[in-house]
Symmetry: D2
Subunit: 462 residues, 4 copies
């Protein structure tokens, strides 16, 4: 493997900004400085650019079955798009099946990803029940597979939803074995009723997806999960926080000293509920759970990133074609597959809407888009920063390029772009994973299967 | 100036930890890496040690008149002790006099420090009135002197206390000119009554100092200052936060998106109100304003550092000899000079009580003891981190040394140590300022006058 | 029916206190004044006494099956004891069975009470499911039976517990038909796990009943129910509030303008968790759900009555003999029948601990022990006050009598007294229901079956 | 003095509603019942009407000097208007002068009122300083004059404003002597600056009165006063609460168990800030301090009355003619005399906007417009209710009359009506004070000087 020297960039980490060079050897950052002697190294010119640690996306659903269909982007198209977008590591959700061994699910996920991923990846494990078998197997998954984060759903009644007893036991297990519990926090019981009720009244359009999942039900479930975390003296990560109510619940818990963390997503920071009202069933493109909210919630989310009450931004990438997939829900919003394509634009959107608009400092941007995810999910300092000894996962980012997000130009397989037409400033020009170009001058030069599986450390270990 | 290479340390910044070497040239960090070629450079061995950015103490009172006496540690003894303790930059409070030009106060402070300081230093400026003269002169102080932080006292009635109108105007001025307003937040009017009332009842012992300044009055004033900051859309830094009430007021303001920051001090994190009850007037050694609190407040402060609602730890160094100075208050606690010696032990105490006891990560330790102060007070990235281009202000810290804090071994001039007898783990072995040793193998090797005055950037600039 | 004139008492209502006489005709209060002409009326001397409206106990379980046994006090012994204690109306919980008509449950409850009750009574109806049958039948129960309050359990998993969807639907139904939803608010799922876990560890003593139902789980469920009430724009009454966490959840909801009300019970105001640690299985006598709390919660409850965040005090009478019933739980705390005997002492305890100790005014006492229950449960102004046209349900209360609560002297059938040995000041001397003596000079003079069933008004009607 | 029998009304108190008659003898209510024998009594027919206790207005400024002028309504016109409006008792603010005996102020107020008042009245006493003289004299005022409420201003810098030390001492004095401290809660220091600043920018129109007194400054001062009350363990009544921020501060204090109470006024419940923008200087008519707020605050105030966080509604009657008085502020809003005419319409507005619009129950209406003021200010049960032994202060109120509020028909001397053109439903038809008609069939039949001075009880006494 060659040496590389990334020269003359403005290097940015979660705490520092400086001008200089980075020397990479064997995929590892070995030297940082000014005017480094790059003899024997390939020179990569970063002048005029920011040099960021590669983005870490802690929340993706690639090649995942959902409601009778499967997300259209798999570990190949999904990770290629991620790389184009400046993301060099993802942690994907491995879905388990009740009554089946956890190992079979993990093996299935390895099978989906091994030959395809172009960037590095890990898995979270979904916990839908806590049986004797699960109790026996879970510690092994943590130890042997390095899967140190467990997902519990408080919604999707009769499908994915776990009851509070299961959530509580998972919190206890996580504490014992050093894992981080993740929750999808919405009150699934009430949503289930609201959905049925809406359908029975003939309210079938996409907007009713949002109206049957009000923010109060997200705030309630978030507070409940945080409360149980305190009782269990465990640790919690609330995925895809969308609203002021949930932010407040997290902040209250943190003020009491609880280890509760929160993630939001680019769509909640930039889009709003009116998108679901788009004509010709276009609203279906914007069906996420939790749903897009009224615009005033966006400020609450930006404030929470600023003041540290939310710590990360994940994509919740979960893409379905409009044609043939989202369309399954014509005439019944509850049949619209939930989710959208966000893995590619997460990084640039955060830069453009966050840093450029004065809502985030450069450091906070790096922190929420990369560093803190590495720290929370057992990847630090291998991932998530530019430091001696870390993997050379690097984004060379030109902050001057103006462009328009669009399905016409994106690299995901999915047939629409959630941010279609949005102007952003800044673009990843080249992206390296462990010192190798995956994107070079805006062109994919990587190779499916080159991404490595990440055996992650336990929560709190470094 | 020689080149130096600090080798084989565990280098820690506010976001990173890694093993490696640091190359320093002309006082500036120029290279960081593993196995750096140190040819031509003096080798400094850091093996087995942490290599931290030098501590920044944002809150000192050296050579300061107070209540008819003067703090015993001046810019020489004070900065030497600071250096021994791992602090390489201080920002000292320049006291102004009503009716006199601000420049005269600043000049006086330059005179106190210029020939004496062994580490770098800046000044905060006290604002006790907002007259036409002050309005005229203040922007010049900010521009020409780089004094970009302004202190307002809400206590010390008839002495330093400013009214709310003055505080509000200062907030507006600060916003306009890019400065950060600092407040001593206690309700001085009520304290004034409580003190007089206590004295009239013959309650003259040191403990009455604490009893006449209850935490409710700090919480109230903190909330008031934060509220005015919101109204002025300005920025606020609350010095020496001691209690849950004040933490809550800060957190509430931050949750609303306000730019409100808070500092606590080592004494509030580790000592409590019972110290003021020590016999033989020993309690006077522990007279700070705000006072030491009941023990349960300590947890609130540690929690607030952890969850980011407090951002820095300053010393509030303000030392008076027990003999001859603290003793002025025998028979009348209100005559005890307020303050104590903390500049030397701040850094090690935070490490020992914070990191070692699992309350702070290594990164958070660096953040609160150095980095965030640099960012808030216009010194970053020159100070506050270990990064290419930054000043080589470096602490080589042996985390294994066990020792006992004591006046017998400290380097301040003052005749007692506030933490006398406390066991700590970890000690700065060598300390460099701009690449020059000030402390080498636990011995002072610096030179009075070698510290440089810091012309600081405006708030929010980098 | 004779006329009666209650003379020379100090008459107290929820807002008034005055000296005077009350003239009763045909069971109705027809005149109030000083020196009333009592010609043709039986004179009842109340001099030296308070004359209160009869207590209303909104929460009793008489003759109720629970965990394989039945509460020992039925509508005869229970209402006799209530009358001795100053209570002239109860609202008892009618338990329904899933899959059976509501009417069958109501009829069963009529059968239990009709020939036995010596004071007036109504029924709340438990809602454990919302099926088409229930939807059809419930409005009829409200209309025809005047059962305008519906109880939902958030605990007792697999037994009584309803899920959040059922709670939400009940809130919607209640809104539509003018009923008040009552909740037992504890997180049953988590409790279920904690109980199993404790038992599996051999933790079988009564104290584990309390330790497996921590206050956090009551606070959580209370907040959840209040949140769903807001979403449904309905009305909620939280029964047996025991802790600061639940009080805060109610207060927060009320501050947002929600129609959320709360009840506490004498046991939570006066006893604490240490009672469960009593030796020889005596702790079982103090097993309520939610459990007795640590002592500091008592102040929160008294404060909440004072400031109006809790509005009523019910007994939650649910008595089981120690011998043969509570003993079912020897060796397994989860088999201890939940509940205790409180119907008799509720009124006097509130007076003695509340009014005499300065925690409640006389008016607030009447309000929480009688008037507000009448208003919330559709009984006002027939019940709950001393006013023209109201039923002459009257307590003549001697505030000077000092006595000791004890099973030796109480009138319940149950074989122990929860407040055994407690000194109280004040005792009901005579009690009238609709103008007829039930208790006269501390002697029962009523007749089983004389109590009347109360067809209650809808929520909000007067 | 004749006996009177008020027959066939719907009698309403703070807790009761019933149909019946009231017998009055010698000015005192002696009997209440159905079909009372009215032999020898004058019959007053109340059929079709509500019979309410007379309104108590706890906040008036009659014949009061302010800013170089004097309120236009004195104790004659003011109390006549009050009577027309259904108010039978007022408590007026007696202004003291620094350095002069309190007695001189009280005597001046007796002189203003004695020959003029047509309804009963008491005085609050303003405390602007706490000197030895005041300390000596205040207990005598409380004891001898029955002046058991003390007013402190936190605004009106350099005029009425007291500092926090004075407020705190007053709270201590009040606790010791059984008085209730009242505050005008706004941050006067900051307002003083904002006003000067606005004027210096040529912002002279009435709307700037509102813009220079933002709600944040009311919320801050309210929280400060409540905090000091807690510290002093005393009691506080916040006059004229106008905004959500202040309501929240009061509610928070009450939740901690503090004896903090709040009053709002009809203008804050029904008018908003846009009124100050009326052309031709008409905005000056709506200049109150604190100012009218943005409309959303109205809901917060209604909610707070409903949930009990605010307890009373006072008028803050303080009337100045538009011609010649309000006009003093043409070209300089700070010279507009503060206040408006509200004494007459307070009662009817609360009924019409509160009861008729479903925001208040009939009982809550009586409570906030009369009963609680009596209880807080030492007038209960003489005033504030319809009960045996109470003064026969009675309003016969026809709830069917529709009318329009207007200066053309009002009975105040002032030349405009603050609620001009507002439609209300309901009108006091006849009003009795101590059994004597003051208003009979909408006509004044009283006599100046017939009102009696009220020597009030200490706080907490009944
Ligand atoms: Zn999800
Ligand atoms: Zn997801
Ligand atoms: Zn200070
Ligand atoms: Zn200081
Ligand atoms: Zn229950
Ligand atoms: Zn019950
Ligand atoms: Zn005022
Ligand atoms: Zn006023």
């Amino acid at each position: 493997m060659t040496r590389k020297c990334i020269k003359n960039g403005t290097i940015v980490t979660a705490s520092d900004t400086f001008f200089g060079d980075i020397l990479v050897d064997d995929g590892i950052i070995v030297m940082i400085g000014v005017d480094l002697d790059a003899e024997g190294a390939e020179i990569v010119d970063a002048s005029g650019c920011y040099v960021f640690p590669g983005g870490i996306d802690p929340h993706t659903h690639l090649d995942m079955p959902f409601g009778g269909t499967v997300t259209i982007d798999d570990f190949e198209s999904g990770t290629i798009a991620a790389a184009y977008g400046g993301t060099t590591t993802i942690v994907d959700f491995c879905l388990t099946t009740k009554g089946k061994p956890l190992a079979s699910a993990v093996n299935a996920w390895h099978a989906k990803s091994k030959e395809k991923a172009v960037i590095d990846y890990g898995f979270h494990l979904m916990v839908s029940e806590v049986t004797d078998d699960v109790l026996y197997e879970l510690p092994k998954m943590i130890e042997e597979e390095g899967i140190t984060s467990l997902k519990v759903f408080m919604a999707y009644k009769n499908v994915l939803q776990a009851d509070d007893g299961t959530l509580y036991r998972t919190l206890l297990l996580a504490k014992e074995h050093g894992a981080l519990v993740m929750v999808h926090a919405e009150n699934g019981d009430v949503i289930d009723y609201l959905v049925k009720q809406a359908l029975s009244l003939g309210q079938t359009d996409p907007i009713y997806h949002a109206l049957t999942r009000p923010p109060e039900l997200e705030g309630e479930a978030t507070g409940r999960a945080a409360g149980l975390t305190g009782l269990a003296d465990s640790q919690l990560y609330v995925v895809h926080v969308t609203c002021a109510q949930a932010v407040n619940a997290i902040a209250e818990a943190r003020m009491k000293g609880l280890r509760v963390f929160g993630e939001t997503c680019p769509q909640y920071l930039t889009l709003d509920r009116t998108y679901l009202e788009r004509l010709d069933f276009e609203g279906a493109k914007y069906v996420w759970s939790p749903p897009l909210r009224e615009p005033e919630h966006q400020q609450a989310l930006w404030d929470a990133l600023w003041n540290g009450q939310l710590q990360t931004v994940g994509s919740d990438q979960c893409s379905f074609n409009f044609k043939g997939q989202k369309e399954l829900g014509r005439g019944d919003f509850s049949k619209i597959p939930n989710g959208g394509p966000t893995i590619e634009d997460r990084f640039s959107l955060l830069y453009s809407e966050g840093v450029r608009k004065g809502r985030l400092t450069l450091h906070k941007f790096v922190d929420v888009v990369s560093t803190t995810s590495a720290k929370l999910f057992g990847l630090f300092p291998q991932k998530g920063t530019i430091a001696i000894g870390s993997d050379a996962d690097i984004v060379i980012f030109d902050p001057m390029i103006e462009r328009t997000l669009s399905a016409a130009t994106h690299h995901m397989k999915v047939d629409y772009n959630a941010f279609e037409g949005m102007q952003v400033v800044g673009e990843p020009v080249s992206v390296l994973v462990r010192g190798e170009f995956v994107i070079r001058n805006k062109t994919f030069v990587g190779k499916p299967g080159s991404g490595q599986y990440l055996h992650r450390k336990r929560f709190g270990e470094q």
